[in-house]
C-alpha cells in the first residue's frame, strides 16, 4: 500500500478510441490533471451523469502520458459496448489509479512477463517502465489478428492459439504463452527470477505452475467482478492464505496483484491442460 500514487476522481474527455487489433480497443482519456500510476494498477471507468452504469468498470492502465491515461479493452458486454461507442470529445469518469501494483524490480532480478489477451496492459506497462535486456516479455492471443503488433516491439515473444494473420516480418509461435519460456534454457533455475502474469485463469494457473517448478517467485494480477474498486463494498473478495489460515482479501484494494503462492484457488487446479493464451 505504501508508495501508491494518490488516486484521482475526475471526469476526463475521450481523445482517441478505436481498434488497435482485431479485438482490442484502445481508449485515450485526457484529464485535467497529471496522471501517475504504477504498472499493475487499474482505473474504474464510467459514463458521468444520468447515463452512468450502476457500477464502474475496472481496466488496467496501459500507459499514461502527463494528463492522458490509456487503457486497452475488449468488448464483452454492456459497459464495454457503450465504451466502444464513445467518440472523441465525450466525457468519461475516471477513478484511479487503484490497487496494488506489480513490484518494481530489484537489482539482479530477471523478470519474465506473461500477458494473455486483455491481460496485456499490466505487463506491457511494467515492460515500458522497467524492462531490461535480460527480461523476457511474452504475449499470447487467439490469433495474429488479435495481437496489437504496433504496441509490441521486436523483443516481445508472441504466441497464438491458431496461426494466421501474422504480419510480414513478425513472428508468432503456435501454442500456449507459457511455452514461450518453457523451452528457454537461459531461464532455467533462476532463483532471482520473478514471473509477472496477467490473463485468463488458465494462463495464471500455468504461470504459477511453471514458477513453482522453476523455483521462481510469481505474482499474478487477478480479475473479480467489482462494485466500488476502492475497498468499501467487499464485493470482490479473493481467498488468500495468511500463514496457516485463509482469509478474504479484496481484489481491488489488497490486489489485484497477489503472490501466486498465497492463492489456494490458483494452486487447486494448477497445471491444467488448457493454459490458453487468450482471454475467454
Amino acid at each position: 500500500m505504501n508508495g501508491r500514487p494518490a488516486p484521482l476522481a475526475c471526469v476526463g474527455e475521450v481523445i482517441a478510441n478505436g481498434l488497435v487489433s482485431s479485438a482490442f480497443h484502445r481508449l485515450d482519456i485526457a484529464l485535467d490533471r497529471v496522471f501517475t500510476f504504477q504498472p499493475g494498477q487499474f482505473v474504474m471507468i464510467n459514463e458521468p451523469g444520468p447515463l452512468a452504469w450502476t457500477f464502474s468498470r475496472p481496466f488496467s492502465v496501459l500507459a499514461a502520458d502527463d494528463r492522458i491515461v490509456s487503457i486497452l479493452y475488449r468488448v464483452v458486454g454492456r459497459g464495454t459496448q457503450a465504451m466502444a461507442g464513445l467518440a472523441p470529445g465525450r466525457p468519461v469518469s475516471v477513478l484511479g489509479p487503484l490497487g496494488e501494483p506489480f513490484p518494481a524490480p530489484v537489482d539482479g532480478q530477471t523478470t519474465v512477463l506473461l500477458g494473455g489477451g486483455v491481460g496485456l496492459p499490466p505487463v506491457y506497462a511494467w515492460w515500458q517502465r522497467w524492462g531490461l535486456d535480460g527480461d523476457v516479455a511474452c504475449f499470447g492471443a487467439r490469433d495474429g489478428g488479435e495481437v496489437p503488433w504496433g504496441l509490441l516491439g521486436g523483443p516481445w515473444r508472441i504466441s497464438v492459439d491458431s496461426p494466421g494473420c501474422v504480419p510480414a516480418g513478425r513472428q508468432a509461435t503456435t501454442g500456449v504463452v507459457t511455452s514461450l519460456v518453457d523451452r528457454d534454457d537461459a531461464l532455467r533455475g533462476g532463483e532471482r527470477t520473478v514471473l509477472l502474469a496477467c490473463g485468463p485463469q488458465p494462463l495464471l494457473r500455468a504461470a504459477a505452475d511453471l514458477a513453482r517448478r522453476r523455483g521462481w517467485r510469481c505474482l499474478v494480477s487477478l480479475e473479480e467482478h467489482m462494485g466500488c474498486g476502492y475497498g468499501v463494498c467487499k464485493g470482490c473478495v479473493v481467498r488468500v492464505a495468511d500463514g496457516d489460515t485463509v482469509r478474504n482479501a479484496t481484489c481491488c484494494h489488497d490486489g489485484p496483484v497477489f503472490d501466486a503462492a498465497r492463492l489456494p484457488d490458483l494452486a487447486a487446479e494448477a497445471g491444467g491442460a488448457d493454459a490458453g493464451g487468450a482471454k475467454a
Binding site: 464510467n46 450502476t54 457500477f55 467482478h225 476502492y230 463494498c233 464485493g235 470482490c236 473478495v237 478474504n248
Partner: protein, 308 residues
Amino acid sequence: MNRPAWWRLEANEPFRLGPRMLPGRVWTASGCFGYGLQAHEFTTANGASPYAGLGAVVTKTVTPLPREGNPMPRLVETACGALNSIGLENVGFAAFLETVLPELEARGVPTIVSLAATTPEDFGPMARRLHERAAGFAHWHGVELNLSCPNVAEGGHDFGSSPATVARCVAAARAELPDRALLAKLTPNTADIAQLAASAREAGVDAVSAINTVVGLDVDLRTGQPYLPRRFGGYSGAAILPIALAKVDQIARGAGVPVVGVGGIATVEDALKFFALGAVAVQVGTAQMRDPFAAARIAAALGQWSSS
C-alpha cells in the same frame, strides 16, 4: 438544479436527533462506504475530502463475531440497479471497537455505528460496550440497528419483519445507549413498514432509516441459474428510488417518528424528493460505490442553498 421554493432546511447545519446534535443531513449508507476510512486516500489528489459536509458515515454493519460473508460472486449489475449478496462480511464487533472506531474518532469522521445480531438481546451488550469504550468520543453520534439485511441466512429476513422483534431489538439497545442517537433500519420487504416504524418509535428509537435493499434475483442465461450462489440478493440503486420514497412517505405520514431516507439516491434531485416527504436526513448507498464524492457533492449543493 435551482433551489425549489419549498426548500426550508439547512442541510449542512447541525440538527438535533435524539440526545445530541448531528453535523448534517446527508450521510453515507451502511455497507457502501466501508468503515469510513478507505476513502481518505482520495483527498490528496482531488483537493477535496469525500467526507466534507457529511452529516454521518454509517459504518458497514458489524456483528458480535467476525463474518466471512457469502461466496463469490456477490454482486450483479441489473438494467438500472444492482443485486448484492455480501453476507455481512465484517471484522466483528471487538475489532471494530478497538481499532476502527478510535481511528474514525482520530480522523474526525462523524460516525453512526451499524450493528446486527442474531437475537434481539445481543444488541444490549454491544450498545453497552460502545457506551463504555466511546462515551468520550466527539465524533461518534449514534447507532443504527440493521434489522433488515435480507442476505443473512440465519434469520435476517424474518427477523426485522415482525413489529415485536423490532421493539425488542430497539428496547435492548436503548437501555444501554443513554446519550447517543438510536436508529432502526427497516426492511422494505414487508406489507406494512409504518407498523414496524411505529413499533420502533414506541420502543424508543430517535429515528428510523428506510429502506434497506429489496429482495431481488437475476438469472444467468448461459446456465439458466441465478447469478448469485444464494439465489437472492439485495436490490439497490436507481431502480428502488420510487419504492424507497413510498416507504418513507408511509412512515412519515403514518408512524410519527423521524425518518432517514435511503434508496436510489445519486443526485441532489433524488435527495430532495426524500426531504420533500419529510425525511430529516438521507443516506447515499450504491451511488457512493461508483463515486466516493457522491454524498459530499449532494451535501455541498444543498449547503449552497442553505446559506443563500
